[in-house]
């Protein structure tokens, strides 16, 4: 599974460890430590993505994969012995330079020990932790909650307690071993595919039953002892990056609430995924690990952007259409402040260029402007190819470009209809089709946001074409959400009411001459100006919708009100639909 790996064996404390290396040994060394029940191959995808820039080292933890097991097993898996192993490996692969440590699950639990005991000081340049807390921190976490059991704290204890069922199970003697060597070992790969949504690609390796049986001693040798008497000096002596998958079935996010007190330099990251992120989200992990390692190699203190959702969007690739003005521009800025890489798409080149420039200044590590008309199928295809080739697979797609069109049904000409549907509906279809497909093919999740409108559910005799286009966007979003749910791709429809943007000054008013159209544009602009709901608030709702994976998000009080009416008293909505707009 590990391509072009060089292997060596390292002897230490009565065992022989199987160590694999990929990438140039001259580059900074990144050591990947696997969890339970795994072997080093769990990192195959991540290692492959890091190998071009780093000297990547992986080893099978004692008793796992092709490393030998201690005899006897009991007492052979203490954190002290695991620390000996780690030091033996790094002395062999990087004798002169400190290494960058990365751990997942039990690999992270033991790495916390490495990063907090004195004898490894100076050997670790940085530590990226995922889904594995320090047992000492965990012990203190439990103690604080037991000592002052407020209802919330008891809730947190019970929450994590329920997630730790397997830890208790592993403490029963012999049974776990029998299960793993028997039926559980056989069905485990399918359990992972089914419940953890990891790809079925020949992993776990054939050593799984023994890995799992031996690894039970990781728990038995350490958990009870450490939780009962956690070390009081478990302070990290290296910068730590904490990556938390929000859908982790085994660990509650709350475990890390007090982590700052143990880690002077902490960078937090979150992603919507389940426990086995090294297999389900290798691109994102490689990007974050690479960035963190590079920053710490350069001796820079990592100053992550401090936007509201920086933990979630830092380094992600976000494409926003209609980003040259209004809601789209504000959305691009909000993502930029959270450290995302931004592609600003608009048919107005200057508007897009300005958004990209300001996005960079606001904290986007990279930002690009692309001049494209979203209703132009070929241009969109070209854009999709270019983005995939030059910037990567989009993590968040915001189909926002849209135009206004007012006027009664009989005043609306077929050309008017075509224009508004081309941009408002077809633009969204092209975006979802092209970029959604890239997301789905990558198989590592993502999110699509479509800007619909309150007009999608609030009928009006003044906006038949516009409302139809937005209703279609809303339904498209709902259908796509159902289709993509199984692939970890969320779809949200945003439904704003009246927002103070340029849309009023460019909207088409059907059935009136040019002069009257100008007058109505001005008048609407004035009304929207008086309403004065800022696009920044819509942008905020968009980021929140992605973070929470919300389906339909009405923004502004009038949009929320109409949404309620549409559910409970649609008659009232129909009455409103007949009103003459104040133009």
């Amino acid at each position: 599974m590990l391509e072009n790996a060089r292997e060596r064996r390292v002897r230490t404390g009565g065992v022989e460890l199987c160590v694999a290396e990929v990438g140039e040994p001259g580059q900074p060394t990144v050591v990947l430590v696997h969890g339970y029940p795994d072997s080093k191959e769990v990192w195959a995808q991540v290692a492959a993505r890091l190998a071009d820039r780093f000297h990547v080292v992986l080893y099978d933890v004692r008793g796992h994969g092709r490393s030998t097991a201690p005899r006897p097993l009991r007492g052979g898996f203490t954190l002290e012995k695991l620390t000996d192993d780690f030091l033996a490996v790094v002395d062999a692969v990087s004798p002169d330079r400190p290494v960058h440590l990365v751990g997942h699950d039990w690999g992270s639990v033991q790495s916390w020990e490495f990063a907090t005991v004195a004898r490894t000081e100076g050997r670790i340049a940085s530590f990226t932790s995922m889904s594995g807390p320090s047992l000492d921190h965990f012990g203190h976490w439990i103690n604080t909650r037991l000592r002052r059991p407020t209802p919330r704290r008891v809730g947190q204890l019970l929450g994590q307690g329920a997630k730790s069922w397997y830890v208790y199970a592993l403490h029963t003697p012999v049974l776990p071993e029998l299960a793993w060597r028997g039926p559980l070992g056989k069905v485990w790969p399918r359990v992972l595919e089914r419940f953890e949504r990891v790809p079925g690609d020949g992993y776990p390796t054939s050593s799984l039953p023994t890995d799992a049986a031996h690894g039970a001693w990781l728990y038995r040798d350490n958990v009870r002892a450490r939780l009962r008497r956690p070390r009081a000096d478990a302070y990290a002596h290296a910068p730590v990056q904490l990556i938390t998958p929000l859908g982790d079935a085994f660990l509650s996010e709350r475990l890390y609430d007090e982590l700052e007190q143990w880690v002077p330099q902490l960078t937090r990251r979150t992603l919507p995924a389940r426990h086995w992120i090294p297999r389900s989200r290798p691109d994102q992990l490689a990007a974050w690990i690479g960035e963190f390692v590079t920053a710490n190699e350069g001796g820079r203190t990592v100053t992550a952007p401090d936007g509201k959702y920086a933990e979630r969007f830092g380094g992600q690739l976000v494409l926003v259409t209609g980003a040259g003005s209004g809601i789209g521009r504000a959305t691009a800025y909000a993502f930029a402040e959270s450290g995302a890489r931004v592609i600003a798409v608009d048919r107005d080149p200057e508007g897009a260029a300005h958004t990209a420039e300001m996005s960079r200044l606001l904290g986007a590590p990279e930002a690009w402007a692309e001049t494209v008309d979203v209703s132009d199928e070929q241009a969109m295809e070209k854009l999709a190819d270019k983005v995939a080739a030059e910037y990567g697979v989009v993590d968040v797609l915001v189909n926002n470009a849209g135009i206004g069109l007012a006027g009664s049904f009989f005043d609306t000409t077929p050309e008017d209809w075509k224009k508004v549907l081309d941009v408002n509906l077809w633009g969204v279809i092209h975006g979802c089709r092209l970029f959604g497909k890239q997301m789905a093919e990558r198989g590592q999740g993502g999110h699509i946001v479509n800007t619909a409108s309150a007009a999608a559910y609030q009928p009006s005799k003044a906006l038949p074409a516009y409302s139809t286009s937005k209703a279609a966007v809303l339904m498209l979003s709902e259908c796509l959400r159902a289709e993509l749910a199984g692939q970890g791709i969320g779809v949200s429809a945003i439904c704003p009411g009246f927002v103070n943007t340029n849309i009023t000054s460019t909207a088409r008013f059907a059935g009136v001459d040019a002069e009257e159209e100008k007058r109505r544009q001005k008048r609407t602009a004035r009304l929207y100006g008086l309403r004065n709901y800022p696009p920044e608030k819509v942008a905020d709702a968009i980021l929140r919708a992605v973070v929470r994976n919300e389906a339909v998000v009405p923004v502004t009080p009038e949009a929320r009100g109409a949404h309620l009416l549409s559910r409970f008293t649609p008659r009232a909505l129909r009455a409103i639909a007949r009103l003459e707009p104040p133009l």
Binding site: T303, S325, M358, L361, N500, N502, G529, N532, E536
Partner: protein, 280 residues
């Protein structure tokens, strides 16, 4: 214009120029000594101490310091929020120092923008302020009404992309009058403003200044006539999502028919002007 009057006027301007320079020197000195962890209050005190050591005893308004998103007056609702707080400076944070010392009877009112370490966004705002300085001078020379100038500044700001909606420029006015504090005989022909027009201002200097840029104040309360001859402290202020930048300096307005003479900056040798010149 008699030579005596001209001579007196030149002496007056020298006095104002001197104190304005002193204030900018103070800003540069204090800015250079800011460190991570310094609070707004401390920065305000550093300005006070620096100027007091150099003979300043009186203030048009006491020094202000704004750090971080307070440079853009984010969420400012009541005037009290303009006063220095315990907000601490952090690496990369933008700051603004604003002070109005009185020295030898002459008043300055200046604003200085900077950041602790690099802040490319604030640099961009400062770059974009250059056009505002040019626009204001040009339109004052054209004798445009203050309100029209305000609206053009607002439009320029929208064109520069700092907002695409009205009322986004929250700083109310961009200029207010400044004068000598002690009463003195001078030529009303040159400066054209009598003490009567200043009495209120001098009596309640701080209040007057606050009014001057309170975000609560509507621009439409301005007079519809051109700026009258006298000294105007001009202070365009750009705010963009939690980062602000401004400068403040004195524009001399006279009743001369010659456009060049009718309005000119008191001093062109100021940090922000030098900065733009260097950038070219």
């Amino acid at each position: 214009m008699t030579t005596a009057v001209a001579g007196e006027r030149a002496a007056e301007l020298r006095g104002f120029r001197k104190v304005q320079r002193l204030a900018y020197e103070c800003a540069e000195a204090v800015a250079a000594s800011l460190e991570p962890g310094v609070t707004e209050r401390e920065a305000a005190r550093m300005q006070r101490v620096w100027l007091r050591e150099r003979g300043v005893r009186d203030w048009f308004h006491l020094p202000f310091a704004w750090f971080g998103d307070r440079t853009a007056f984010v969420n400012f609702r009541v005037p009290l929020q303009f006063f220095p707080t315990d907000r601490r400076l952090e690496p990369g944070m933008p700051f603004i120092l604003d002070m109005a010392p009185v020295h030898g009877g002459f008043t300055a009112d200046i604003g200085y923008s900077g950041s602790l370490g690099l802040n490319p966004l604030q640099d961009k705002l400062m770059d974009d302020l250059e056009a505002h300085r040019e626009l204001i001078l040009r339109e004052v020379r054209e004798r445009r009404p203050l309100r029209a100038i305000y609206e053009d500044v607002d439009r320029l700001m929208v064109r520069q992309g700092y907002a695409n909606r009205h009322r986004a420029y929250p700083f109310g006015v961009i200029a207010h009058k400044v004068d000598r504090v002690k009463e003195r005989r001078w030529s009303p022909k040159v400066f054209g403003f009598g003490t009567q027009s200043l009495k209120g201002l001098a009596a309640d200097a701080l209040h007057g200044h606050r009014e001057g840029w309170s975000p609560l104040r509507s621009p439409y309360r301005f007079s519809d006539h051109p700026p009258r001859p006298g000294l105007w402290a001009v202070e365009p202020h750009l705010g963009f999502r939690g980062t602000g930048a401004k400068f403040e300096e004195i524009l001399v307005v006279t009743d001369s028919k010659d456009p060049e003479e009718s309005a000119f900056w008191l001093d062109d040798d100021l940090p922000h002007v030098r900065r733009w010149a260097e950038g070219k």
